[in-house]
Symmetry: C2
Amino acid sequence: MKNKLSLAIAGLGTVGAGTLQLLETHRDLLSARCGRAIEVVAVSARDRSRDRGVSLEGYKWFDDPVDMARDCGADVVVELIGGSEGPARDVCDAAIAAGRHVVTANKALVALHGSDLAARAEAATVTLAFEAAVAGGIPVIKALREGLAGNGVSSLHGILNGTCNYILTTMRETGRPFEDVLAEAQTLGYAEADPSFDIDGVDAAHKLAILTSVAFGCDVDFDGVHIEGIRHVAAEDIAYATELGYRIKLLGITERTKAGVLQRVYPAMVPLGAPIAAVEGVYNGVVAEGDFVGTTMFEGRGAGAGPTASAVVADVVDIALGRMTPTFGIPVEMLSRTPSLSLNERVGLYYIRLMVQDTTGVFADIATTLRDANISIESAIQRARSDSGFVPVVLTTHETQEAAIQEALSSLDRLESVAETPRMIRIESM
Amino acid sequence: MKNKLSLAIAGLGTVGAGTLQLLETHRDLLSARCGRAIEVVAVSARDRSRDRGVSLEGYKWFDDPVDMARDCGADVVVELIGGSEGPARDVCDAAIAAGRHVVTANKALVALHGSDLAARAEAATVTLAFEAAVAGGIPVIKALREGLAGNGVSSLHGILNGTCNYILTTMRETGRPFEDVLAEAQTLGYAEADPSFDIDGVDAAHKLAILTSVAFGCDVDFDGVHIEGIRHVAAEDIAYATELGYRIKLLGITERTKAGVLQRVYPAMVPLGAPIAAVEGVYNGVVAEGDFVGTTMFEGRGAGAGPTASAVVADVVDIALGRMTPTFGIPVEMLSRTPSLSLNERVGLYYIRLMVQDTTGVFADIATTLRDANISIESAIQRARSDSGFVPVVLTTHETQEAAIQEALSSLDRLESVAETPRMIRIESM
């Protein structure tokens, strides 16, 4: 049996404690799988005395995680602090500089500094691994980078944020409004006290930028992701989606065209029969289209101590067995600088919901506005008259360019008979 | 850049031709991903002159694949002949003896001789890789063996045969009987002229035996798999399943208990909301339960030239990058000899369909028979009277042991009022 592989763990929150617990639980199994022992030698966190449900005895303690990354002597530094800057980034920099492999669950860090970190890891011939950064326990980085290595991947879409998927699933199942379900998710621990990173789509966008790089072999370009969250998805929209044969999901979508890469995160309507529509609750799912393999889907828990620890340890096992792969699938110098396209390039179907005055001729005004923007209507639902004097009108369009829709929405908003800001949700055929 | 990796391909049917095509199409991409060129140097097949849509120019031709495996000089032999004995087995034996890595898509070979082949590959320090043998293009061997390496897997189930899934899906969608849909599947090329390997569950059982070994780290034990196919699934059963909130799927299921491993392939009713229920048509899906990761699912095309070539090449890329993993996840000498349990150990729910005489007291006879076998009824559907004098009775049971059900089915069959052999389908809660 080879020498043991030694680890230093920076950050002992839920995931750090879960990782320690996994390594303890499966000590023998991991030795058998790796042909060598995996041993934690050092840890660092903000508070040494906090009860984490796991013993820290036998691990060298560091108050400063950067000191640990530099001086611990371990083969691998596991970074579980989080955040794209500050100590998390410094820990990874210091570990690579000291010639240690880095395993991280930090999506923000990899999304914002991935190409740079990968270049330095490559120069130092150490591994930079981040399976846990995307879709929690689902081994999707491994699947894309290794399992589908024989394919050109043309597009990929996924449910990358369990909080949003839980909220949208619960809204549909109960008919309750967004704020209500969000508050419940916070109580249940599925949403943070400050939920904006999740519900505004930033977390999903971090993960999408990483997936884009792995799938297409291009530089990570988080700034190129168009991002919209789920705050504006109303209970009515979810009910109409069901009526029209769709589910609303917060999707991350990335597509490669001749002109570049189109990356976006937004709530989208997907057909009930699409594989991704069946991914419900806190689950994540990623669907990739490969030119030889066809459609593949990977589904599982996207967050939580156990799933994330599972992904962290998978990366550790790769290192223990000496299984090396270029960070984003090909050497950094070969990553393409493919331009990120504007969402205006999108061509697809759209759902529009208006609240209009319940008077004769209103529908003609709407139809004329859309015709003037060259948008053709595929279906329309107009509800019976109401006492309030306002009625909802729901439209879906044929294939239309994003720019035309945006122009039409402005025009509709200016119509006197339109009472509220028009709501639009993109329909993805999948 | 390192030396090129050279391949010799034995068998140029659909998958062999697809593999050549993939290697040609993605020559540059694969070089970038592997840091070295992948080059086919030799091929062997039964008929040299057949038009396969790919040129064989530049490859050394061997009439005898075993000669090729021994003398080709290649780093890797790709075995795509098929069959558990004969040339396929001889090719793998010869390649390992000559110190060449082996990549195979041959589920029968690995299911019947996997432990033995793995022991010899390990002794020769070459890779024996078989991603393409299970679930086509889905990288499920990699996912289980590497992606979930941090988990103890307790159970696994999957749709492992696309032909059966296509037939069952089409029967449900159209209400047509089995023979009819099978004939259509044969016309469409989804089923073989002799379809018995697929529809009698043998193909799925080969794959299940392999998955069991990878998931649990035990010897491959194909003989330990209980196998039933889908010939006896009637259109009525599918309609009743829908009424009861289930889908009927040919499932491979493997479970580890303290006493051993319970492996079985049979048509089962799964709840509509279960992830596996959404895997339709020719698609395959595998659901694994890990103690840290929770439930994960992997879905994609289970057969065909492109998906299978994708899996073959993924294995080749692993070899090109020097990524080695013990064949079944741990060294062969550490694989456990876990006993395979009899299906009589199964405890679960059951669906029973009877055709009975339409006379007073029949239902009491049935209920008494079940009570005597200690089986309690969960629901019963009895249809209105018919002109034929016979009516169907459909029952579902509470938790019951397989042995008790088998006894009860014999007793029911002996009742004079029961007109046809009772039909039983197991219900899996998932």
